[in-house]
């Protein structure tokens, strides 16, 4: 190796080192500490450093903890499916029906509320869904219902809040995928005698599957780890895993249990990642 090359390499190391050390100190080490913490125990107000799996055994044996995981998974799967189904047609309309020079604007508008902080966005949904809120008053005014619907503080409210957010996210990822499709594939299929439905089903949809999977994975990860939306909109009717984690931090803080539940959450996300890994390979130009 020549001297200038060596100097260049030293410089590169010096440039990368701060970010590496930062990630190590404030990301990797905290995770190691959290993993260690999950193996300790709370006794009274103290954390005792005896190493065993009792927190995990507790998790598996206590119905309210295991139930929270199931609630999380059910809600997340429901939200992911509904969001994909709602977002795909919108992305398709923006990509195919909106004139090219207006597409950017249409997309920007479709994701504008995405930039509200999630605390504010969830609060805004409580306004809409409240017993005497906008939605109920509109439905009663239209004569569709006689009594206000009890939507707030239910699973339905949580799902609505989540779907609102993820429809915007998925519209973005699916649109990005749709506009990359060469129109020739579809023309070729049409020339070979496929009707519009067949073209969509056999050409467009399979080719946009990677975009759907990336978006669905993002939805899954962000949805299952969110505390705000279920806390503000769902209330205490049905707790999800992040709510139960946060409960451990309240009075009589049980940090080891909170850590163990976080590791469980992490494991679920990793499993989801492994399940869609083959669609998630990031390409870099």
């Amino acid at each position: 190796m020549t001297t200038p090359e060596r100097a260049e390499r030293r410089r590169a190391w010096a440039a990368v080192a701060p970010a590496l050390l930062w990630t190590l100190a404030f990301f990797v080490v905290p995770f190691a500490m959290m993993a260690a913490m999950s193996l300790w125990q709370r006794q009274g107000r103290e954390v005792v450093r005896v190493w065993d799996l009792s927190n995990y055994q507790d998790f598996l044996s206590k119905p309210h903890l295991l139930g929270a995981l199931w609630n999380s998974i059910e809600i997340t799967v429901l939200v992911t499916v509904i969001s994909v189904v709602l977002a795909y047609p919108l992305a398709w309309i923006i990509a195919e029906r909106v004139p090219r020079h207006l597409q950017r604007l249409a997309l920007a508008l479709a994701v504008l509320p995405f930039w509200t902080s999630y605390v504010v966005r969830s609060y805004a949904w409580t306004l809409v869904l409240a017993k005497n809120g906008v939605l109920n008053q509109a439905l009663i005014g239209a004569g569709l219902i006689a009594e206000p619907l009890e939507i707030s503080a239910t699973r339905g409210a949580t799902v609505t809040g989540f779907v609102h957010f993820f429809v915007m996210l998925l519209t973005l990822t699916i649109y990005a995928n749709l506009v990359q499709l060469p129109a020739n594939y579809r023309r070729a299929a049409a020339d070979l005698g496929a009707g519009p439905l067949a073209v969509f089903w056999h050409v467009t949809l399979p080719l946009t599957l990677p975009g759907i999977m990336v978006g669905a994975f993002l939805t899954f990860v962000l949805c299952i780890g969110d505390y705000i939306t279920p806390q503000i909109l769902g209330g205490n009717s049905e707790l999800v895993l992040p709510q139960v984690i946060m409960l451990q931090l309240g009075r009589g803080a049980d940090l080891p249990m909170a850590a163990a539940l976080s590791i469980v959450l992490m494991t679920v996300v990793t499993a989801a990642w492994l399940a869609c890994a083959r669609w998630l390979r990031l390409e870099r130009a």
Partner: protein
């Protein structure tokens, strides 16, 4: 058939745009409510809830804290991300891919877990929660973002300009500061603006890592305990408008690069 399809398309798009904008419109509209509850019928308009926000000491303090944390943590994120991107793009280091993976790893973990991990480690090492720890948390989530944006715009054509600067006698820090950073200014600006937006809106990490001095989303969170209130609408509308302004700023710096 095509006419029906077209009509259905526009109907669908309209309905979904309605769904997407419904909460924001309700939020902003009822922040002008001249009454005690932000629910229909709409009475007003009035600006008194904005005045109430402005006169609320803890809200304005939180607003200031949010700005400080967002600007400081984004500056750190940009510096770390930019340097690492430069080193990895130029250096051809052994294990470059692994390092890239490590630096971007925080993007794949939910904020709750990052916040909790930091809270536990600060707790174990005896560091008490403050705006500084919140800033550290936000720099952890934003460094990968700045890194990715800078790394994507590190082109090979810039290498020769850097070499020329070196041949002309520039020291290494001068090359970075006077040549590379200005060439990457659009990427740096976009990364900075996005980081500021994310930090500005972030709740859970700020909630877990702060105690007495809090950021705006945490303060708004405590307002929620008082139930539906036009004052919360006003505070939320302010947060929303600031975020949109920052996103637009990022959008325009990105656009300028493309032209």
């Amino acid at each position: 058939m095509t006419a029906v399809l077209r009509l259905a398309s526009w109907g669908y798009a309209l309905a979904l745009y309605g769904f997407i904008f419904l909460p924001v419109v309700v939020l902003v509209l009822f922040s002008f409510q001249d009454g005690r509850l932000p629910i229909p019928p709409f009475e007003g308009p009035t600006l008194r809830w904005y005045a109430a926000v402005w006169q609320d000491r803890s809200l304005t303090a939180a607003l200031g804290n949010s700005f400080v944390v967002a600007l400081a943590s984004s500056a750190v994120s940009c510096a770390l991300g930019f340097l690492a991107a430069w080193g990895l793009a130029r250096g051809r280091l052994a294990g470059g891919r692994a390092m890239q993976g490590l630096i971007t790893a925080p993007l794949t973990v939910s904020y709750l877990l990052i916040g909790l991990g930091l809270m536990i480690s600060f707790n174990l090492t005896g560091i008490s929660p403050s705006l500084l720890t919140v800033g550290i948390g936000h720099a952890v989530i934003n460094t990968p973002l700045c890194f990715a944006i800078c790394f994507a715009s590190m082109g090979d054509h810039q290498v020769n300009i850097e070499r020329a600067a070196r041949d002309l006698g520039a020291r290494e820090w001068q090359v970075l500061w006077l040549v590379t950073a200005p060439m990457l200014l659009p990427a740096l600006a976009a990364g900075f603006a996005l980081s500021v937006t994310f930090s500005w809106d972030e709740f859970i990490i700020a909630f877990l890592l702060s105690r007495f001095d809090v950021t705006l989303p945490v303060e708004i969170w405590s307002l929620l305990r008082s139930g539906l209130n036009p004052k919360t609408n006003a505070a939320g509308s302010v947060v929303f408008l600031v975020s949109v302004a920052m996103v637009l700023a990022a959008e325009f710096t990105l656009l300028r690069r493309r032209r």
